[in-house]
Assembly symmetry: C2
Amino acid sequence: MFESAEIGHKLKKSEYEREEPKLRQALLAAQFELLEKKKFPVVVLVNGVDGAGKGETVNLFNEWMDPRHIHTFAFGPANEIERARPPMWRYWQALPPKGKIGILFGSWYTDPILDRVMGHAKRAEFDAQLSRLRDFERMLAAEGALILKLWFHLSKKAQKKRLKTLSADPKTAWRVTPDDWAHFKHYDEFVSVCEHALRETSTGEAPWHVIEGSDAEYRSLTAGKLLSTSLRARLAGKAQPLSPAAPPPAPPIDARDVLTALDYTQKLKPATYDRKLDKAQGKLNLLTRDRKMRERSIVMVFEGMDAAGKGSTIRRITRALDARFYRIVPVAAPTEEERAQPYLWRFWRHIPPRGRAAIFDRSWYGRVLVERVENFCAEADWQRAYHEINEFEEQLAETGGIVVKFWLATTPQEQLRRFKEREKIAHKRFKITDEDWRNRKKWPLYKQAVADMVERTSTAEAPWHLIAADDKKFARVAVIETLCKALEKSFDR
Amino acid sequence: MFESAEIGHKLKKSEYEREEPKLRQALLAAQFELLEKKKFPVVVLVNGVDGAGKGETVNLFNEWMDPRHIHTFAFGPANEIERARPPMWRYWQALPPKGKIGILFGSWYTDPILDRVMGHAKRAEFDAQLSRLRDFERMLAAEGALILKLWFHLSKKAQKKRLKTLSADPKTAWRVTPDDWAHFKHYDEFVSVCEHALRETSTGEAPWHVIEGSDAEYRSLTAGKLLSTSLRARLAGKAQPLSPAAPPPAPPIDARDVLTALDYTQKLKPATYDRKLDKAQGKLNLLTRDRKMRERSIVMVFEGMDAAGKGSTIRRITRALDARFYRIVPVAAPTEEERAQPYLWRFWRHIPPRGRAAIFDRSWYGRVLVERVENFCAEADWQRAYHEINEFEEQLAETGGIVVKFWLATTPQEQLRRFKEREKIAHKRFKITDEDWRNRKKWPLYKQAVADMVERTSTAEAPWHLIAADDKKFARVAVIETLCKALEKSFDR
């Protein structure tokens, strides 16, 4: 993989000086077209061997283009805030919005590669991480991002020479850290691990470009031209995002599904309800104050048809909790800043740190429910969402997240009763709109969407809990008891 | 001040039970009206003596209203990210947007009060902090926020009793921390410091409400009614934000100002320029890598008429810097999320941590320039902005921020020449719009605005540098040299 980057590529200074102004102008023009159209973001990853000119290239990109519209992020060790969340969280925060160029210096590849080189991660773990990165980049590409992955390489001999040269000059000596020399000792393992990583993650939508780093002119012009060419091609409408073309899931031929299988007659008498609710809330309160909670976080998801009782159920939960412990995230239409980012970005924003809970009143499942039914997104978009969501929840679970998902299931008859009741009560009238009546007509489509959602996203780590909710009392107690069980199960591990 | 909160206020359980449902409904109705109208944010501060029921009240507010639209923040010791920025930064991040209720548990008062009680801050420093908080709240009120400041009080005897009761019950013992007992030892100093703080910061727009905390029913109903009444009054259109009515600054009677006083004929020859620019960039590079930079941050502000050369000057600066060191913030129209917050919020977002620089291409001065001239905001708004901006920059300076503000001053003749040139050059045509021509006609108004701005916001800590910029070469070198001097001056201290 690296052979072609160890052959001593070189460019004459005169040729560089002839080409550079043209490249600069091409880049600037492309950048402004990108900025004006605001159609997609550009994500440039800068990785590779120490001393191969990564920093210089990042600086050069900022110099060639208008630095006002470039977001440069350098990733060192994770800080306090970042360590309390899944590792990918900080990269989500660094994604450029549509129209901008994000340069990620030390990207999502750095930690997995170093962990592997230093022996902290086994080969299987490493492969699992690479597969996750592949999925992440596939998602970015499908969301429209242009991804350019640059790998700067140096042969062992060239790296040693480069580090020595830098150390010898007092002007550049500061750039060689003890870490750089420590890494150099592991050159062979490093290169072998990197080669594996590059091979595993060079995909059609986001291939790696390996650039030999020893000659500044060759390196700079190669990197610049790659960026310019990719930008130009994409602006011209080439290299469109993928459209997976698998057929959508088909309804079961016997008309039975997880929702029809529920027993909607389950009820609780008022006295039983009071007793059970009290007990469940008390238990929940104790559990959330358990010492083990410090290493965990809770992510609750509430979905259901209109008037299913999501809001009132959430209130029964929060009454058992300290207000400092949780945050409720009501999910409505995305804001301007959120629309300029990949779909899941606005949920990543609200991921709780360890020791805290987030309660999502509607969630990322909107993609495979309302957006699917109402054709707010393309079929390819909601089809890929199942896998993206599973990946997302798996990452939460891996960093101590307890993911508990509820579908509050009501019958159309009960919904109708509640709609009519709401129209009668003055202070509840704001809760019922024309849209609710329109959605109601699409009940069969929603039912199919829910069944598919459960089939594809109910996982061992983040199962769906379908709760019969025609009786609000029964549903509330069932939800809190389920939540308690999920916490206990996690604490027992 | 606290006498009326030590008289043993009490409420019968039966009365509480009669009143509570009514209060709850009133609060919920008010909350939804607030949410629907999205006219203003509500900021509730919950402060006071330990054990006086602060936490219980916060939980109760979340229980009474719809917790989905309440943002509850509890402030403990500042974390890594927060410590690298001015102390107020984290409170800016916690401000609720319009339509929402933010409950701040342990607010911007906590640290100044504890610092004073523990003797870390002198009386004069404490007073300066209180005066800053008063200004901050005045700004919030002027921006439309409803501020409700609740102080929960307990007499010394009552506090001791309360802490003992809590400790004795295994269910509540966890709530009494060693810190609480440590604070109790300082009860008398604490109360005396708090009394001073409350007196100094009880203003017309944001008065303190002291509530006796020993009786749960009395405390809860009092706090709830205060919130309900203030919300109701404000929704009904009473208690409007302030409108300072001082006359706007008058133009000088001799028509001379800081801009006319500049020498616009200053020029650099190409060879001199190259030499000087190289030298200045080299120096700037060294300075930003100085060890002392770790404790400092740089905030650069670039303002000027259209085509004054802000962008190209910024590029000359960034070429001397490592791309990881700085971030450029191009200031355009605010986003939806930004419009739901006080004016300065969108700039606080981008404040650099220690060791880093932010370059603002246009800035918070838009308020007293374009927004003033174009009547985008009320006269009262831009008039109060001068003081708010000075406060803001003072806070930056106090935490090691080096604030360097440039006005690139061009003559109308030179602007015209550049406009015409831009229209001729293909790849610069996007840089000239009808708006630029319209703005040009308002030159005299802008001139007056600039003169007022310099007069009112050029401070010792954050002076304005007016740079004659008819010759771009001269301006670029002057800017970088000025920047170097500002860094040296700060390092020498």
